[in-house]
C-alpha cells in the first residue's frame, strides 16, 4: 500500500492533455484514471475515474452506497492513498506529503464520521479552528454563513444532528478554502434542513469557492451541481449537466396502462403492439408521446375499454440515475 502511486511526468510539455489542464488555471481539480484497490478486497473500490472541476463550479458526485464516492473524496483530501491515477488539486498532488500540507490550508472538508470536542461551545470550536489559519473567517462570520448564530454558546454535544452537520460545514469554511469537499453533507436531514444546507452551498459558490459534493439524493445534485457524474461500482456511468444526463439516456416518455385480460397484442393497433408487455400490461417507451397516446385512447374509446391506471411520464433525474446504476448492478459493489 505505501508504494508511490504512478504519476504522469509534468516535465514533458508536448504530452497533450496532462499539461493542457495544468496550464488552465481555471481548473482547480483534475483527476485521471483514479484507481483504488483496498488490500484484501476482491474488486477495486474505484476503477479508473476522471473528474474535472472549474473555479466557482459545483461538481456533484451521485451514486448509491458503495459506489466509491467516499473513497474518491478521501483520496482527494489526502486521507487515503490511491492505487493508480493522476490527481491535480490546485496544481498540487494530495498523495504527496509536502503538497498535502499546503492543501490543508486551502481546501475545506466535510467528511463522514468526523466530530468535534464535546466540551467546547460552538463559538469556541470555531475559535479553535480560526487559530489554524493566517487569514481565518471570524467565528461571527462563520456562524452567520451556516445559520448557527443562535447556537453560538451551546455546547457541541447539545446540538441536533442537523446543527452538528452545519457546524461541520462551518468549520470547513473557517480557512477561506478555495475548494470545499462535502461528503454527503445532508444525509439524515429533514427537508427544511436540507434546503438550508443548499442555501449555504449557493452562498459558497457566489464567493467563488469550488465545491465537490457527494450525495445519493437526485434532487440535491439537480439543484446544486453545475455538472454531475454518476458513480456505480467504482465507475463513472454518466456525466454532464443534470439535464444532459436525463437527455443522453434517451429514456423518452413512458406510457403505461392496464388492459383487460382478454386483449392480446394482435388486438392493438400495429403501431402500439410493441407496448404489449404481458397479458393485461401495456408499457410503451417513445420519444414523443402525442401520437401513440392519441391512438391508444381512440382505440380504447372505439372498443369501449377503460384504460385503468393510465400514466404518462417524462424521465426525471431519478429515472436516469436508476437506469445508469442498474446497468452496472450485476457487477456488485464494494
Amino acid at each position: 500500500m505505501p508504494e508511490a502511486p504512478p504519476r504522469i511526468a509534468e516535465s514533458q510539455p508536448d504530452h497533450g492533455s496532462t499539461d493542457d489542464r495544468v496550464l488552465d488555471s481555471d481548473v482547480v481539480l483534475s483527476v485521471r484514471g483514479l484507481v483504488k484497490q483496498y488490500a484484501g478486497a476482491a474488486e477495486p473500490a474505484v476503477r479508473g475515474i476522471d473528474l474535472e472541476l472549474r473555479r466557482g463550479e459545483v461538481l456533484g458526485m451521485l451514486g448509491p452506497n458503495g459506489a466509491g464516492k467516499t473513497t474518491t473524496v478521501e483520496i482527494l483530501t489526502g486521507f487515503r492513498e490511491r492505487t493508480a491515477g493522476d490527481v491535480q488539486l490546485l496544481g498540487l498532488d494530495p498523495g504527496v506529503r509536502a503538497d498535502l500540507r499546503a492543501l490543508r490550508r486551502r481546501v475545506g472538508v466535510v467528511l463522514q464520521q468526523t466530530g468535534h470536542l464535546r466540551y467546547l461551545t460552538v463559538r469556541e470550536t470555531l475559535e479553535m479552528h480560526a487559530a489554524y489559519y493566517r487569514d481565518a473567517r471570524s467565528p461571527a462570520e462563520v456562524l452567520a454563513l451556516v445559520g448557527l448564530e443562535d447556537s453560538a454558546t451551546k455546547n457541541v454535544r447539545a446540538l441536533s444532528g442537523g446543527q452538528q452537520r452545519r457546524l461541520d460545514v462551518g468549520v470547513a469554511l473557517v480557512g477561506r478554502p478555495e475548494v470545499v469537499f462535502l461528503d454527503e453533507p445532508t444525509t439524515g436531514f429533514d427537508p427544511a434542513a436540507r434546503r438550508r444546507a443548499w442555501d449555504i452551498v449557493g452562498e459558497l459558490t457566489s464567493l467563488g469557492t469550488s465545491v465537490v459534493l457527494t450525495t445519493h439524493y437526485m434532487e440535491e445534485a439537480a439543484r446544486l451541481a453545475d455538472r454531475v457524474v454518476v458513480l456505480a461500482a467504482g465507475r463513472i456511468v454518466g456525466s454532464g449537466t443534470p439535464e444532459e444526463i436525463a437527455h443522453d439516456l434517451q429514456l423518452g416518455t413512458t406510457i403505461r396502462a392496464q388492459l383487460p385480460d382478454d386483449v392480446d397484442a394482435e388486438a392493438l393497433p400495429a403501431a402500439l403492439r410493441r407496448g404489449f408487455v404481458a397479458t393485461g400490461t401495456f408499457e410503451l417507451r417513445v420519444e414523443d408521446a402525442t401520437r401513440p397516446l392519441a391512438e391508444l385512447c381512440s382505440w380504447a374509446l372505439e372498443r369501449g375499454i377503460t384504460l385503468v391506471d393510465l400514466d404518462v411520464r417524462a424521465p426525471s433525474l431519478e429515472d436516469s440515475y436508476l437506469a445508469l446504476t442498474d446497468e452496472t448492478e450485476p457487477e456488485g459493489s464494494t
Binding site: 473555479r55 499546503a102 466530530g115 479553535m128
Partner: protein, 259 residues
C-alpha cells in the same frame, strides 16, 4: 486568491502561525479537562482518597511519593489513552487532521496540558502529605520537578502507544485498566515478594518504568539522592523513546471501522 496565479506561486505560502496554534491547543485541552467532572475525580479525588486509605496501614512517608507517581501514571497514561481512543472514535482526531495543524503540535499541546494537570496534582499531594501526614518537604525539589516532567513525557508517549493498540473506545477502559493494574501489580510484587530472585528484582527495579518513577521520586523527595538513581531516569527516558517510536509507527487518527 486570483484566478491567474500559477500553481507554483500558490504553493509558496506564509509560515503557519505555530505559536498561536500551540497556545490554542493548550487552552483547548485545559478547557476540556476542567469541564469534564469525571476526569477530575480520577485525577484529584482518587489519589488523595487512596493516600488516606494506604496511610492507615502503611507509613505515610512511604506512601506519599508512591501516590505522586501513581498520579502521573493515571493522568498521563491511563487518562490520555482513554481520551485518545474516544476522540478517535468520535472522529475528532480525523477532523483535526484535516486542518493545517501539524500532528506534532496536537501532540505537544496535549503533553503540555497533561503536564499542567499533573503539576497541580503533585502540588496537592505534597500539600496533603506535608500538612496532614508530616511528610518532609521535598529534599531535592528541582530533581523532583525534572523527574515529574520526564515521567509525564514518558507516560504520555506510552499513552499514545497504548491508544494505538486499543481497537475502539468501548474497549478502552478495560484495556487501560488492565495495563494500569498489571503494571502496578508487577511493580509492587517484585519489590515485596522475597521469593523473587535478586536478578529479577534488579530488572524490575531498574527496568520497569513505574518502578523507576516511584524509586526516583522517593529518593528525590525523601533523600538521599544517589548516583544510581540516574539509571532510573535513563530507564524512564528509554521507555518514553520506545513508546514514542511505537506510536509513530502504529498510532491511527481515524475511527477503527474505516479501512
Amino acid at each position: 486568491m486570483t484566478a491567474t496565479a500559477t500553481p507554483a506561486a500558490e504553493t509558496r505560502e506564509p509560515r503557519l502561525p505555530l505559536g498561536p496554534m500551540l497556545r490554542m491547543q493548550v487552552a483547548v485541552e485545559q478547557r476540556i479537562f476542567w469541564r469534564n467532572k469525571s476526569g477530575m475525580f480520577f485525577t484529584f479525588i482518587l489519589p488523595i482518597a487512596l493516600l488516606f486509605t494506604l496511610a492507615l496501614s502503611n507509613d505515610p512517608i512511604d506512601m506519599v511519593p508512591f501516590i505522586a507517581a501513581l498520579g502521573i501514571l493515571s493522568t498521563g497514561f491511563q487518562g490520555l489513552s482513554i481520551q485518545l481512543a474516544m476522540h478517535r472514535d468520535q472522529g475528532v482526531l480525523k477532523r483535526i487532521m484535516a486542518t493545517p495543524l501539524p500532528a506534532s503540535l496536537l501532540i505537544l499541546g496535549k503533553a503540555i496540558s497533561t503536564t499542567i494537570v499533573i503539576l497541580v496534582e503533585i502540588l496537592i499531594v505534597i500539600t496533603v502529605g506535608v500538612g496532614l501526614f508530616d511528610a518532609p518537604l521535598p529534599e531535592h525539589p528541582f530533581i523532583l520537578l525534572g523527574l515529574v516532567l520526564l515521567g509525564t513525557a514518558t507516560f504520555v508517549a506510552l499513552g499514545y502507544a497504548l491508544a494505538s493498540i486499543i481497537p475502539t473506545s468501548e474497549s478502552a477502559p478495560a484495556i487501560t485498566n488492565a495495563a494500569y493494574l498489571g503494571l502496578l501489580l508487577v511493580t509492587v510484587l517484585i519489590a515485596q515478594v522475597d521469593a523473587i530472585p535478586d536478578w529479577l528484582q534488579d530488572i524490575g527495579t531498574h527496568g520497569l518504568p513505574l518502578r523507576a518513577l516511584i524509586e526516583s521520586i522517593d529518593h528525590a523527595w525523601m533523600g538521599p539522592w544517589k548516583a544510581s538513581d540516574a539509571w532510573s531516569a535513563l530507564t524512564l527516558a528509554a521507555w518514553g523513546a520506545i513508546g514514542a517510536l511505537w506510536s509513530v509507527r502504529r498510532f491511527r487518527w481515524e475511527p477503527a471501522n474505516e479501512r
